[in-house]
Symmetry: C2
Subunit: 425 residues, 2 copies
């Protein structure tokens, strides 16, 4: 039976989950995969954590070199988090010809090219299913499941923290602040939640997924990013009344205008499969020219779901004879003939406070019309003090047109745009 020795760097949430699965499931992997997988060493400075997980003292190493140089170790699992130290460790392991499995999306998004080049040069494997959407096998699907397809659109709810917050706001009508506190108290949000709520985490993942889907490097710098911090409960309720649900959406599209990649809050129609992806669940919806629409749904984070992806990568690496790398040219920059769209198209949700006077609606429609923006749906209600609230959904238009129209409306004396949100029709 093939023996696979594993070293785990970092026994936090994900590394600890990986340790538990490998320790508890040794017989299972012997039986189902014909593999004897053992944890040979762990690098974890926190003695209490080692004790909590029951790691035998002889397996605890104090230095990355001990793990990398151990001839019994063929797979290094990187779960230390952060970027610079992780990069050093991973490069070291790849130089030594070890297979690296990592859940570190920021590392992959920022240093993929360098890591992959190093892996190729030393015939080492580099696997990162766990970096995107927890245990959902979306990386494997893009590499090994839908290769027959040109993929032109990929939309995902790929951050659990923000989806929990937006679901709370939608279902309970609470404010962003209240929902964020609930997420913190449940451990779904960090004490400094900015990586999640400002969309960085989703942007890292989108950069990786769009690169795989479009077969070219999509650098992080090309990802438009807007977080959920300024989303109001009023907008969520107004969208709900029109049959939409607000999600932090990661969108990758490819068209004649180029590739566009963006992370921002967006309303999704209630009958879209993504609309019912609630709470901590994540999903990626993609459209291929042959397969049509496909959606993968599951837990996007958490100890065991993410460790499931890491262990599945270990098994995959051990049971497949050749390492596969991304098939785009391995440079840090996108290929020369790849265009990125300078502007993108979307439908829009606008909430305005307007003067409750005859002719105002016509004036607003006229301003929008000048920017070629037409209205699909509209709600008007009294707001008191001689004002109305208008909530409207537009047809698709360019982002630039929408922003210009909003500026024009805000420059009038009869209308103020309170919110602008994108709508995925």
């Amino acid at each position: 039976m093939k023996k696979i020795g594993v070293a785990i760097l970092g026994l936090g949430v994900v590394g600890g989950g990986t340790y538990r699965i490998l320790e508890n499931r040794r017989e299972f992997f012997k039986r189902t995969q014909g593999l004897d997988i053992t944890v040979e060493s762990v690098l974890e400075p926190n003695a209490a954590r080692l004790a909590e997980l029951g790691v035998p003292a002889e397996k605890a190493v104090s230095n990355i070199a001990e793990a990398v140089c151990d001839p019994d170790v063929s797979v290094i699992v990187e779960c230390i988090g952060g970027v610079e130290a992780a990069r050093d460790y991973v490069l070291g392991a790849l130089h030594a010809g070890k297979t690296v499995v990592t859940s570190n999306k920021e590392l992959i998004a920022k240093y993929w090219s360098e890591l992959e080049r190093t892996a190729k040069a030393h015939n080492a494997g580099l696997y990162f299913e766990a970096s995107c959407v927890g245990g959902v096998p979306i990386v494997r699907t893009l590499l090994d499941g839908v290769q027959a397809n040109e993929i032109d659109c990929l939309m995902g709810i790929i951050n659990g923290t923000t989806n929990y917050i937006l679901t709370e706001m939608t279902e309970k009508g609470v404010s962003y602040e209240v929902a964020l506190e609930a997420a913190k108290s449940l451990g779904y949000a960090e004490s400094d939640p900015s990586a999640d709520v400002d969309g960085y985490d989703a942007a890292y993942k989108l950069s990786i997924l769009a690169s795989l889907a479009f077969h070219t490097k999509v650098p992080l710098s090309k990802v438009f990013r807007e977080g959920i911090g300024s989303v109001s409960e009023e907008d969520i309720a107004d969208g709900k009344a029109l049959g939409y649900r607000l999600k932090l959406l990661a969108v990758g599209k490819r068209s004649a205008e180029g590739i566009e990649v963006r992370v921002h809050p967006a309303f999704v129609r209630g009958d879209h499969p993504l609309a019912s992806v609630d709470g901590c669940f994540n999903a990626v919806f993609l459209t291929g020219d042959a397969v049509g629409d496909v959606m993968l749904y599951g837990r996007g984070a958490g100890s065991l779901p993410t460790a499931s992806a890491i262990v599945s990568d270990i098994v995959y690496a051990a049971t497949h004879g050749e390492h596969r790398y991304s098939t785009f040219r391995n440079t840090a920059a996108p290929e020369k003939d790849v265009k990125f769209a300078a502007d993108f198209k979307s439908a829009y949700y606008l909430r305005l406070t307007v003067c409750d006077e005859p002719g105002v609606l016509a004036k607003i429609a006229s301003v929008l019309g000048k920017y070629n923006i037409s209205i699909i749906e509209l709600i008007q209600r009294q707001a008191g003090e001689g004002k109305c609230t208008l909530v409207l959904i537009t047809h698709e238009t360019h982002e630039r047109s929408a922003l210009n129209a909003v500026a024009k409306l805000n420059a009038t004396d009869y209308a103020k745009v309170e919110s602008l949100l994108r709508v995925a029709l």
Copy 2:
């Protein structure tokens, strides 16, 4: 660049789609996969079909041996359908050491062991992603995406024809016969629809998926099967009023009592991710001990979606150095220590016509109670002529208890059970 010569046996819906993708996407696969894939020969007796697809005369062969013996052909795509001839052809190709890619679920469900043994013996590949749920990469996910997990439950809507019919009945309130005619006129149902509506197609797929999920051969003979032919619009409407949607569900479960596999109509709660899988869409929902709930959703049939799976298998076979086979022991029978549950547990929907007299409800509840069946929800309405209709949903109980209770009720003079349907809680 690696060259892959393909022969396609049968240019029907799926074979034709495969031909089209390979012919139209040759440059795409060169660029994205580093593979030059060419169709070297096709076996298709229908000259009109060859002309329709624009197949050059020199590629049309008249005999399986011409394709199998061609040294330029390394992959044989089997799309002729049926079982016995397909089996001969596939065995011949495997004997010659060719990689076989097939969409033939009946062939795999019935002859998997023999085919796999032959493939191993001749170091040939055997791939069948297209046999289950069209372009949705569920086979790949079970083999390569969730291997870290013990999977205890798998539920799927894995037949597009029946899902289209049930969706029509649910949304338009039409009868089974009307919905079936609509499905036929759209080409979603065959003129003899029994393979779909009687659940055979879903049973083939469930036998394959459950075998992969549970790592042991789950023979077709173990699959309990009940079709949708006797489903009434009244039951669908009553279930809808209680918040459920009726689906032809394929269920695989593993528990201390053994493995249970069954295909039958079942009500799914409206808030379950499977409930909104409508029309021709399919989905498989599975639960792993580490990853938790995962769902894959997409088109379960059709020319290009199914061809997408075939072509993805061709690419996979060409880019992975080693053939992988199922990891259960390769016998036609399940392994000796595998138990199959003789009975299964489910919640139930019952519709009864009862005498509208005092005390009848108490009598019915008492009969159910004797079989340890308790009621979750109940609707009573007048049915005229001194009768009432009772619609009730029970807690989970054994199928045998439910059937015995129904027989007991039907033996009384105050109640008649009009329908019994299972409910997936």
